[in-house]
């Protein structure tokens, strides 16, 4: 994901909200380090321009969790996602495959359908997916929830013709 963010024109895509799963403690620090490197210090007044916020979201299901309790936790994740989407009202959503993005994309899509908001959803499938899509990717593709769906290997683009292949990010 950071490959994409570093390449984006920051003044076009601002402010930036980074969302990671509650139990993920590696992703947000990476984003924080990058955003810190962007902070400007202007003139004598040292105005620090910060354009990023970092949040964590409940996961629908942890690895190994029983499917019965997963019903309740998925519901909680959906409610949390809906709350975040309503609060942030993003115009653009970038997501790259963890299951955490599904409740967020579904909430944004629902608002779109109800005419209550408009987010362009861009999905970039993981580079580790060569022949098969991830479950998140499959859901977003089949349900046509993403405005643009990127894969990083040509075989996947052939298998899923509505996907776009524009090379690998790494």
């Amino acid at each position: 994901m950071m490959n994409i963010v570093t390449e984006l024109q920051k003044d076009r895509f601002t402010p930036r909200y980074y969302v990671a799963a509650l139990t993920d403690n590696m992703s947000l620090p990476k984003a924080q380090v990058y955003e810190k490197s962007l902070i400007h210090v202007e003139g004598d007044r040292e105005t620090i321009i910060e354009n990023a916020e970092f949040m964590q979201i409940y996961r629908s299901r942890e690895v190994g969790q029983s499917y019965i309790t997963a019903i309740a936790t998925t519901l909680r994740a959906i409610l949390h996602a809906m709350w975040l989407i309503i609060r942030i009202r993003p115009q653009v959503i970038f997501c790259n495959g963890p299951g955490t993005c599904i409740p967020l994309c579904a909430s944004a899509f629902l608002l779109k359908v109800l005419g209550l908001g408009w987010s362009s959803i861009f999905y970039i499938e993981s580079i580790a997916r060569v022949k098969k899509l991830s479950l998140s990717g499959l859901l977003l593709y089949k349900l046509r929830m993403a405005d643009q769906f990127f894969v990083q290997w040509p075989q996947l683009q052939q298998k899923y013709p509505r996907a776009q292949y524009a090379g690998r990010l790494m």
């Binding site: 994409i4 076009r12 861009f122 580079i127 580790a128 098969k132 090379g167 990010l169 790494m170």
Partner: protein
């Protein structure tokens, strides 16, 4: 003794537990195979693994040289370890794979058969088919080391996000630089 030229083999399992790989790398047969290929040192990053490799050196049959073995669990960055290595043996995580390829080092990826959803092997197999690395299983690692021809490897040209970002900008109606 004068400075001998070190040829380090760096083994990494990332944040995973991959005892099967560490065990194989710790075996006499594999250490012999590495010695035969001219490697002098073995550095094992064992992650969350429970099997502890021995730090004893292995003597070659002629008794002339031995493989120096070191191991550690984690480090904040393995980039330096990769840079100093002449060969990297890694688990199939995409991070380790691309970090090694980016640094231009010969790489053997070992697929962990104990993992439930082994989609990771797709990436290793695809890159092996394109001759960017060698792909092995713990049981076949020794044969792979003995048979590998480093000259057959093709350098991997890293990708970039510009083309994807250009398409995104175009979709949103921004001028594409």
């Amino acid at each position: 003794m004068g400075d001998r030229e070190r040829r380090v083999v760096f083994v990494t399992v990332g944040t995973t537990c991959f005892d099967a790989l560490v065990k194989v790398v710790d075996s006499e047969e594999l250490k012999q195979a590495l010695l035969q290929k001219g490697y002098t040192d073995l550095l094992i990053q064992m992650g969350r693994g429970t099997y502890k490799p021995s730090k004893l050196s292995t003597l070659q049959a002629s008794g002339n040289s031995s493989l120096q073995v070191e191991h550690f669990t984690f480090s904040p960055s393995i980039a330096d370890n990769i840079r100093e290595a002449s060969l990297v043996i890694s688990h199939a995580g995409s991070g380790s794979i691309f970090e090694t390829l980016r640094l231009g080092k010969p790489l053997i990826v070992v697929v962990n058969e104990d993992l439930m959803d082994n989609h990771q092997s797709e990436l290793a197999e695809e890159l092996a088919e394109r001759n960017h690395l060698f792909c092995a299983h713990p049981q076949t690692l020794r044969e792979n080391v003995e048979a590998m021809d480093l000259n057959a490897l093709q350098p991997y040209v890293p990708g970039e996000a510009k083309p994807v970002v250009a398409l995104i900008n175009r979709f949103l109606g921004f001028p594409v630089d």
